[in-house]
């Protein structure tokens, strides 16, 4: 029973939210706030004619590609900056600049400079996310335990064993934090990218429904994608994090 309780609590809380939504739509009684059932109905119809899966897949592909690129590039830069003071001093102003450029500006500039193509879209998303990954991983690399590094050095573990057994396990929690916050950030940016310059994806569809003032369509597409992200969170990210941290709980 104690294992079931958190799950039950989560389901209960979600049901409360849906109930509040239902009550609000009854109260307001306007097509600007459709009921949950109306949204579900539209989502179901769009799924049957293939529209919803097509756009979800387009958005998901961009999220995954940009996420992998940003995590890889950002981690390397972050670790380098965390370990070498010179690199940190040199690139810190760049980092602050990129952290503070609004996502919209990067997106527009990428489209202007590189054309309204898929590569420009992915580049814009990646550039937006990299600074956050860098900051998190730099913090992780700074807090690497000297005791373990000294152990690795005195036992002559060499580069490969030091990396896999000593450094990466210490960076893993920071990697997980960057991944968790990164996914949430990236999919929000992806929608803007799609809204401004792509002809498919959830953002494109939301733009379409916005022009029609169709709130049901907007909610159907955005909630469908939230659902996809929830599945990734619970089915992929959390189990991975749990496996990596198993030694802590033991």
């Amino acid at each position: 029973m104690p294992r079931l309780r958190p799950v039950a609590l989560r389901v209960f809380s979600s049901l409360c939210l849906i109930l509040a939504w239902q009550l609000a739509s009854w109260w307001w009684h306007s097509n600007l706030l459709p009921s949950p059932l109306a949204v579900l109905d539209l989502a179901w119809r769009e799924t049957l004619d293939g529209e919803l899966p097509h756009h979800l897949a387009a958005t998901l592909r961009r999220v995954v590609v940009a996420f992998l690129l940003a995590m890889t590039i950002g981690s390397v830069i972050g670790v380098v900056m965390g370990r070498w003071r010179q690199a940190d001093l040199l690139f810190d102003p760049w980092l602050i600049l990129f952290l503070n450029i609004p996502a919209l500006v990067t997106i527009i500039l990428c489209y202007v400079w590189f054309g309204l193509g898929e590569a420009a879209a992915i580049l814009a998303i990646t550039v937006n996310k990299i600074p956050n990954v860098v900051v998190t991983l730099r913090e992780g690399a700074r807090t690497l335990d000297r005791d373990y590094l000294e152990m690795a050095q005195s036992f002559s573990l060499g580069r490969r064993r030091t990396l896999t057994h000593v450094i990466l396990p210490q960076l893993l929690p920071f990697f997980a934090v960057a991944a968790r916050s990164g996914l949430a950030l990236i999919w929000k940016i992806v929608l803007v990218v799609e809204l401004l310059g792509r002809n498919n994806g959830v953002g494109f569809q939301i733009h379409l429904y916005f022009q029609l003032f169709d709130v049901t369509g907007i909610l159907a597409y955005s909630l469908a994608f939230v659902l996809v992200m929830l599945v990734i969170e619970y089915a992929v990210l959390q189990p991975m994090e749990g496996a990596a941290n198993r030694w802590r709980i033991q």
């Binding site: 000294e150 152990m151 036992f155 002559s156 396990p169 030694w247």
Partner: protein, 306 residues
């Protein structure tokens, strides 16, 4: 009789004679060194020991530290920690370094291990002519086991080819009473068990030089004593050169061939004493106590209370 049991039996007099380590065929330097060692006649001071336990007096390591300074992180004022420390270590020798706490004993080990190259002086290995540095084992003051690896993975971390040495790892884990805990993570073990795992990690690579930094501090007396016996037993087999830092004179008396006394800050070697207890007498309480009483007089003269 299983090998692991033999390790646990307190060695009896003369027990070491049959435990001469075989020359390591994979290490030409070690092979050559041993050849040299056998040609060298034992020095006069070593004649009081039985011939088989006399350490071969070939030099393993020359240490000359003229100055080691640390800058205080907040004020930036430099503090001299080590000044004019000169010592030679011979192959197979067990040397204890004793001194007041905070006098720079750990720093000395750090410098020897090459963890801190910022000092005036030179540390020269007799074997560096061959191009390979010595295999180094280090037992730190805290166990420093990697918490995300299980005990066995921690122990084999220094081995190039853990699978090829599985039998040796099993023996060593058994000797350390850790055979059933190989798959436990370190945070589930007691401090004593973690220290045993750290010892196993250093022993398993059969180091040329074993650096030990108060490895038995903050353990209850019986556990510490058990680990000391284990250390002597394994050292008896492997004949590593050991540099052992401690502030416990009795421990130094029991374990070491030679004891070096360090002064307080800046630390320098103020006295060197040969312990002269034969290896088979190390577990002889009265023999150790008698020698300890002698050394204690030296010790009290060097470090007057208050």
């Amino acid at each position: 009789m299983p090998f692991s049991n033999r390790w646990k039996v307190p060695p009896i007099a003369g027990g070491y004679s049959e435990r001469r380590p075989a020359p390591d065929e994979h290490d030409p330097a070690a092979l050559r060194r041993r050849t040299v060692a056998e040609d060298t006649p034992p020095l006069a001071g070593a004649t009081s020991r039985p011939a088989h336990s006399a350490p071969p007096r070939t030099r393993a390591l020359d240490i000359r530290i003229d100055r080691k300074r640390f800058a205080d992180p907040s004020s930036g004022i430099e503090r001299l920690v080590l000044a004019d420390v000169r010592l030679e270590l011979f192959h197979g020798e067990f040397v204890a370094v004793i001194g007041p706490s905070g006098c720079g004993k750990s720093t000395l080990l750090h410098l020897i291990a090459g963890l801190d190259p910022a000092f005036d002086g030179e540390i020269r290995w007799a074997d560096t002519a061959t191009g390979t540095g010595p295999r180094l084992g280090y037992v730190f003051q805290n166990p420093r086991l990697l918490p995300w690896l299980d005990v066995r993975a921690n122990v084999v971390i220094g081995l190039e080819d853990p699978a090829g040495h599985a039998a040796r790892v099993d023996e060593l884990l058994a000797a350390m009473d850790l055979a059933e805990f190989g798959h436990f993570h370190p945070n589930r073990l007691s401090l004593g068990m973690q220290r045993r795992a750290a010892l196993a990690r250093a022993f398993v690579i059969e180091p040329h030089l074993l650096l030990m930094d108060e490895p038995f501090v903050s353990l209850d007396a019986p556990t510490a004593d058990q680990l000391r016996r284990l250390l002597l037993d394994v050292w008896g087999r492997q004949r590593s050169t050991v540099l052992f830092v401690t502030h416990d004179l009795r421990e130094a008396t029991m374990l070491a061939d030679r004891v070096l006394f360090l002064s307080a800050c800046p630390a320098t070697i103020v006295r060197e004493v040969s312990v002269d207890i034969a290896r088979e007498d190390r577990f002889n309480e009265s023999r150790v106590s008698a020698r300890y009483a002698d050394l204690k007089r030296d010790f009290d003269a060097l470090y007057p209370p208050g």
